[in-house]
Amino acid sequence: MSTFHGLEMAKQALFTQQMGLYTTGHNLSNVNTEGFSRQRVNFEAMSPFPSASRNRPSIPGQLGTGVMAGTVQRIRDAFLDSQYRTQNSKTAYWDTRATSLNRMENLLNEIDETGLSKTMNDFMTALDALSTRPDNTGGREVAIQKGSIVAESFNHIANSLEQIQLDLKKQIGSLNAETGEYDGKIGDVNSLLRQINDLNKQIGEVEPLGYLPNDLYDRRDKLIDELSGIVNIKVDYETSGKGSLAIADGIAKITLADVKGNPITDSGGAPIALLKATDRSLADPEKELGKLTVSYNDVGAVTSIEFVKQGESSQKIEDMMAVDGSLKALIKSNGYVVGENGVDKVVGDFPETLSKLNKLAQNFALAFNKIHKEAKDANGENGMAFFTNGSKYDPANPNALETNITAFNISINQELSEHPDKLAISADGSAGDGQKALELAKMFSKALTAEDIGGAAGDPEPFGKGISVTGYFQQIISKMAVDTQEANRRLVNDGVLQQKIQNDRLSVSAVSIDEEMTNLLKFQHAYNASARSMTAMDEILDKIINSMGLVGR
C-alpha cells in the first residue's frame, strides 16, 4: 500500500469525472446535430489491490483503487436503424411517386373550367348549335375554332406530359457523366457508396487501436439512412481487425434488398453487394468501386439497372420493382420495359397515360372524320378529313392526313381553317340541313364501334365495348385520380409510421438537455468530491512530511 495511493486515486477520479464533463459538453453542443447519438463514458472501477499473486502483501481484504474511463460509447439501437431504413425506402417511394403523379394531375385537372373535357363540351355544343343554323357562316367559323382548341388542348397536354417525363429521366440520371449532364438518383447512390466506403476505411483504421469512433459511426449511419431513401438496402457488419473492441460496430457491408429484407439477386442468383468490407482497401476507390448504371431505350423507358464493378461481370437487377425507394418511384413514373411473353412492353404512369391519350386522340379524330367525310359541305361536295396528323394536304394522297394521328400531332385540316365553307355538316347538301353536324355532336358520347372509325364490322371496339370518347377520357382521368389519391394516402400513412420509428430512435439516441444538465451536476459534484479527497490526502501528507516525528517539539 503506497503512501501516495490516495493522491493517485483522487487524481484518477478527477480525470475521469472531467472526461464525463467533457462528454456531456460534447452532447450538449450536438443537441441539434442531425444524426448525432448521445455518448456516454463507461465508468469502470479499477482493479483492486492487491491482486491475487504469490508475493501479495498480507493485508486484510482487497482495497479499491478508484475509477477509470473504460470506453466512450454512443447510445444507439441497430435494430431500430434497420427498421427505420426499410420504412424510409417505402416512404421515399410514395413521396416521389406522389410528387410525379401530382404533376400529372395538375395538367389533367378536369375539375376547373379549363380542362380537355371543357373544350370538348364547347366543341360539341358549337356543333349542336350549328345544326340549328347550318347556313350561318359565323357558326361554321365558331365550330372550326372550337375544334382547333380541342386539338391544341391535346397537343398541350401531351407535350407537357412528355416534358415532365424527360424531367423524370433526368432525376433517374446516369449516362452523360462525361458532359456533366444529369446524374440523378443513380449518381447519388454511387456518391453515397463512395462516401460510406471512405468512412469504412477510416473506421477500419481506428477500431483496431481499441477506440470507438462514435462520430464516424454517426456520419456513416446518416449516409446509410440517406441511401435507404433511394434504394432499399440490407446492412451487415464485419469486424475490422483483431484489436477491435467487441462493442465496436465494424465495417458496413451493403446489399440491395427487397421489402422483406431478402437480398436482391441477379439472373444467376447471386446477391447484388453494393459495398463489400474489402472495398475499403481498394487503391483507387473512385474507379474500382462498383457503380449502378441505368440504360434507356429509344423512347426513354428504363431497360435495365446494372451493378458494374471493375474486374467482375456486371449484375443486372432482375425485377426493378422489387427494390423500394425513390429510384423505383421515378422508374415507375418515367416508364420501364418489361418482357411479357417474349415481347418488350413499356409500362409506367406517364407512358401509359400518354399512350391512352394518343389512342383517344386517334380514334376521336377517325370517328369524327368518318362522319365529316360522309357529309356534304356548303358547296355540295363531300367533306375532307377534319382532324389530321398535321401534315400538309396532298390532293394525290388525301388519306395520308389521317395516318398515325396522336395527341402530339392532332390538328385541324389547314384547308378547313382557311375555307370554313368546306366544313361538311349537311346530309344532302342543302343549305338548311345540319343533320351531320348533329351526328358529329352526338358522336362524342356515342359508344364507338370498329365501323365508326372506318374499321371492319366485328373488329374490336376502339375503346372497348360500349365506351365513348368522353367515357374513355373519364377512364383516363379516374385511373390517374385513383393512383394519385392512393399515393397521397400511402405517403401520409407511411410518413406516420416513419415518424413513429424515428421517434423510437430518437428516444434512444437523442440528447436530452435536462438529462445532460443532470449529468453535468452529477459529474461536477463527483469532481468536487474527488478534489476534496485530494485535499484530505494533501493534509495527511503534510502531516507526515512536516509534523511527524517531532514528538511535541
Binding site: 344532302d428 343549305a431 338548311g432 435536462d514
Partner: protein, 293 residues
C-alpha cells in the same frame, strides 16, 4: 419511453403542419366553394362532375336550340295566318261575284283584287326569314315557288323537314312543309277561280267557293299540325327548364361545398390549432437550465 426536447419540437412541428394543411383545406373549400380542388381529392366526385358538366352543357344547348325552333314555328304560323286570311278574302270575293246581279265590269274589278291576293300568297310562300326561305324545307337557299311570265306557278316538291335537336333523341320538325300547303290543287283552284272571273262564267265562279274552301281546309290542317308541334315544344321547354335546374342542383350537391359544414370545420380546426400552439409554446420553453442556479 425516454422523451427529449428534440422529439417534442419535432412532434409539435409535425402536428402543426398537419393542422395547417387541414386549415388550408377548409380555407380552400370556403374560398372556391368547391369540395375538391383536384381529381385525386375524390376521384368519384371528380368523374361524376365531368359527367354532370357535359349534361348541363347539353341541356343549355337544347334550351338555346328551342329559340331557333320558336323562330321557325312563329314565322311559319304567322305566314299561314296570312295565307288563310288571303284565301278567306278570296272566298268572299267568290261569294260576291257569284251573285247574278254582278256585271262584267264589276267582276273585272273583283278579278284585279283576286290577282293581287294570288301574288300575295306567292310572296308568302316564298317568305324569307333571316335570309332563309321558310317553306322550302332544308333547301333554304331556293324559293318554293317559281312563276313564269304567263303567271304559271310551279311548286317545288320533295322538301326535307328541318329538324332541330331539342332533347336527347328528340329532333323536332321546326318548319311547315311548303308542298303540303301550296302544292297539289292549291294554285290550280285559285287559277280556276281567276279564269272564271276573267271569263265572267258565273257557274265556275260559284264552283270557286267550294274549291277555295278546300284550300282553306288544307291550310287549317297544316296550322293544326303546326299548333300541335308548338304545344309539344312548350312541354319540352318546361321539361328542359326543370332538367336544367335538376342538373345544376345535382352538380352542386356533388361538388359544391356545404358552407355550414365548412365554416364549422374551419372554426373547430382553428380552435385545435390555437390549442396546439399554446400547448407547444408552454412545453418547449422551459428546461432544467431555467431552474438551476
Amino acid at each position: 419511453m425516454r422523451i427529449t426536447q428534440g422529439m417534442i419540437s419535432n412532434n409539435m412541428l409535425t402536428n402543426l403542419t398537419k393542422s395547417y394543411s387541414n386549415l388550408n383545406k377548409y380555407m380552400d373549400q370556403l374560398n372556391t366553394g368547391n369540395k375538391i380542388s383536384k381529381p385525386s381529392d375524390n376521384p368519384f366526385i371528380a368523374i361524376k362532375g365531368m359527367d354532370y358538366r357535359t349534361q348541363l352543357a347539353q341541356v343549355e344547348q337544347y334550351k338555346s336550340n328551342t329559340t331557333e325552333v320558336d323562330l321557325w314555328m312563329d314565322n311559319s304560323d304567322s305566314a299561314l295566318d296570312g295565307v288563310s286570311s288571303g284565301l278567306k278574302r278570296m272566298q268572299e270575293l267568290a261569294i260576291q261575284a257569284s251573285n247574278g246581279t254582278y256585271s262584267e265590269s264589276e267582276r273585272k274589278n273583283v278579278l284585279e283584287e283576286a290577282k293581287q291576293i294570288k301574288a300575295d300568297l306567292i310572296s308568302i310562300a316564298n317568305r324569307k326569314v333571316n335570309d332563309r326561305y321558310i317553306f322550302n324545307g332544308t333547301d333554304t337557299n331556293h324559293a318554293l315557288i317559281t312563276e313564269d311570265a304567263n303567271g304559271v306557278v310551279t311548286v317545288n316538291s320533295g322538301q326535307q323537314p328541318v329538324k332541330i335537336h331539342v332533347a336527347d333523341n328528340i329532333e323536332l320538325q321546326a318548319n311547315v312543309n311548303g308542298e303540303k300547303v301550296f302544292g297539289g290543287d292549291f294554285f290550280k283552284n285559285i287559277d280556276g277561280f281567276i279564269k272564271a272571273l276573267g271569263d265572267n262564267n258565273q257557274a265556275d265562279i260559284e264552283k270557286g267557293i267550294d274549291t277555295l274552301q278546300a284550300n282553306i281546309d288544307t291550310v287549317i290542317n297544316q296550322r293544326a299540325d303546326l299548333g300541335a308541334r308548338m304545344n309539344r315544344m312548350d312541354l319540352i321547354k318546361n321539361r328542359l327548364d326543370s332538367q336544367e335546374i335538376t342538373a345544376k342542383d345535382v352538380m352542386s350537391k356533388n361538388e359544391k361545398v356545404d358552407y355550414e359544414k365548412a365554416i364549422t370545420d374551419l372554426l373547430t380546426q382553428e380552435t385545435m390549432h390555437r390549442a396546439a400552439l399554446a400547448a407547444g409554446s408552454r412545453v418547449i420553453q422551459p428546461s432544467l437550465v431555467d431552474f438551476l442556479r
